[in-house]
Amino acid sequence: METAWLQASEWLERAGALADEGWQIRDLAGVDTSGLKGFETRFEVVVQLLHTERKERTTLHVMTEGDPPTIPSVVGIWPTTNFMEREAYDMFGIVFDGHPNLTRILMPDEWEGHPLRKDYGVGKVQVEFKPQPFLQIETPGQSPSPQEALRRVDRLGQVVPATDKEPGQA
């Protein structure tokens, strides 16, 4: 199994040449290299190629450019990468230039951040969905919202003056 590194600008041309040679794409994954040694670019796209006649596999690393990290899309060459590129965009925020429908695929559309980045820690981010319109039930004159109630009563049940701070903040 061979491995090669490519610049984003070379990728489209190289992909076309590989497809003409009969290479099929089997996997496309984003990688955040910030925790690894010896990498210049933070985000890479790793592509697994398979040649069914030669029964060979090869791995290509394509380095992204710019901010947000950008790389040309190869959906026109290998249509199967459509979902895979959307997944890499969703999980790492890698932008695939020329993708027909680059939207989030696994996370909700309104999600902020890209979960598989190394600075996006498990359990460090509050999991809270934005309220959907049909869930907002407004009944005036009823008890205060949970946040307001928390501001007024502390853990021991004693009433404290309302502040602007969120519950849990020091």
Partner: protein
């Protein structure tokens, strides 16, 4: 921006809950949601359909409803512990997830699996292929209106799951195949249990074929339905039974053998029609071939170690802990932090019941994976659904989904 795209945006702005999204009076086209909760979508798959009366004009699969961030969770486990995460991905074929992951970690470690370990893995994998295909048989039949297929399929699955329980202690999510081999040896009496399965299953699989293969209603509903050509299947990356039904003669077990498959004899079924019936034929033959493989594996089961006994990888036997200080140290290190894996990257793939299941793993030299990416066959195969169903009836769409056999746990991970 296509019309469906515009409708999606309108739906997202409005919130979920409505089935009928829009109705175009001039063209008489209707856009409706199928799923995410629908008995025929095999899980929480949502399809945005643009319909002209009963004909599907456009179909867009929308996924992510079962996303639980398993790839991220793997990064918080040690290398041994991540098996418990990956096994939950494709929940109808858990042994294949474990096998692909273990092959990747073994390649990074550069270790060998003893022959018996390889054979036990193949035995469990082939039984798992059967148990997964009988569920497909049941759901495919059920979606076509053949209710009894479901009963038969789940009856046979139970036999196999009983064997899994006997070996690994669990019916699903076994956590049994580990980097280096398998966790425990086969229990006493496994030969008899497997002979029972091998006595019962072959006639029953033949019975399935009698039930459906020449059934006029089933033929009418599947022949020429949901067809994709060989070129389309190649372009869309369809693997497994979908690719083979469209004429792609490719099976990783035969073409890039892993574990001990190079020592076994089996045939790879290939059809050319590419429709639902061709996929049915392929899976039926695969079930017979799996039984043939299990026979060979049981007859050729070697003796010896079932996992790599390197003390740095495998906890020592309990009795050793009383005698040897070294064993205590190894045990302590393995339990508290796990083993380290040399830096590097690898991609390992197995032929799961749904196609190529690959695991791409990166190690930074630590005790937990730096990155695990799973190429799930359902995720990739699902992309061929729009091509299959465009211009067909809604009822044929149901048949096509069943023939892709997507497992949403694997699609969303």
């Amino acid at each position: 921006m296509s019309k469906t795209q515009a409708v999606i945006e309108a739906v997202e702005a409005k919130g979920h809950g409505a089935f009928v999204e829009s109705y175009d009076e001039l063209e008489e086209r209707m856009v409706i949601n199928m799923g995410p909760v629908h008995p025929a979508t095999h899980g929480v798959l949502r399809l945005l359909l643009e319909l002209d009366a009963e004909t599907v004009v456009d179909c867009q699969p929308i996924i992510g409803y079962l996303h639980t961030g398993m790839e991220k969770e793997c990064e918080d486990q040690n290398w041994r512990g991540a098996v418990t995460i990956v096994t939950r991905m494709d929940y109808l074929a858990p042994f294949f997830n474990e096998q692909a992951y273990s092959l990747a970690v073994e390649a990074l470690l550069g270790i060998e699996v003893p022959e018996r370990g390889k054979y036990i893995r193949m035995l469990m994998a082939e039984l798992n292929r059967l148990s997964s295909h009988v569920v497909w048989f049941g759901t495919q039949g059920l979606d076509m209106g053949a209710m009894s297929a479901m009963f038969y399929g789940f009856r046979e699955r139970e036999l196999i799951l009983d064997f899994f329980e006997m070996v690994s202690g669990l019916r699903m999510n076994h956590n049994y195949i580990i980097p280096g081999g398998v966790w425990e040896d086969l229990p006493d009496g496994w030969e008899r249990a497997i002979e029972d399965i091998l006595d019962v299953l072959p006639p029953r699989v033949r019975e399935y074929e009698e039930l459906l293969s020449l059934n006029p209603i089933f033929l009418e509903r599947t022949n020429g339905v949901g067809a994709i050509s060989r070129e389309e299947a190649l372009a869309l990356g369809a693997t497994g039974p979908i690719g083979r039904a469209a004429g792609i003669d490719w099976d990783l077990r035969r073409d890039i053998p892993y574990d001990g498959y190079s020592q076994l004899e089996f045939d790879v079924p290939v059809e050319t029609a590419g429709d639902v019936y061709a996929r049915y034929r392929v899976r039926m033959v695969e079930m017979h071939q799996s039984l043939r493989l299990i026979r060979q594996i049981v007859d050729g089961m070697p003796s010896g170690d079932f996992k790599n006994m390197d003390a740095k990888l495998t906890p020592p036997p309990r009795a050793e802990l009383n005698r040897s200080m070294e064993a205590v140290i190894h045990h302590f290190k393995l339990v508290t932090q796990g083993y380290t894996v040399p830096p590097g990257e690898t991609y390992a793939a197995v032929e799961s019941p749904r196609g190529e299941l690959g695991v791409y793993a990166i190690s930074d030299g630590g005790t937990s994976p730096y990155r695990i990416h799973v190429r799930d066959p359902s995720f990739v195969n699902l992309q061929s659904l729009p091509t299959m169903v465009k211009g067909q009836l809604v009822a044929d769409l149901i048949a096509s989904i069943a023939s892709i056999d997507p497992i949403l746990g694997g699609v969303d991970r």
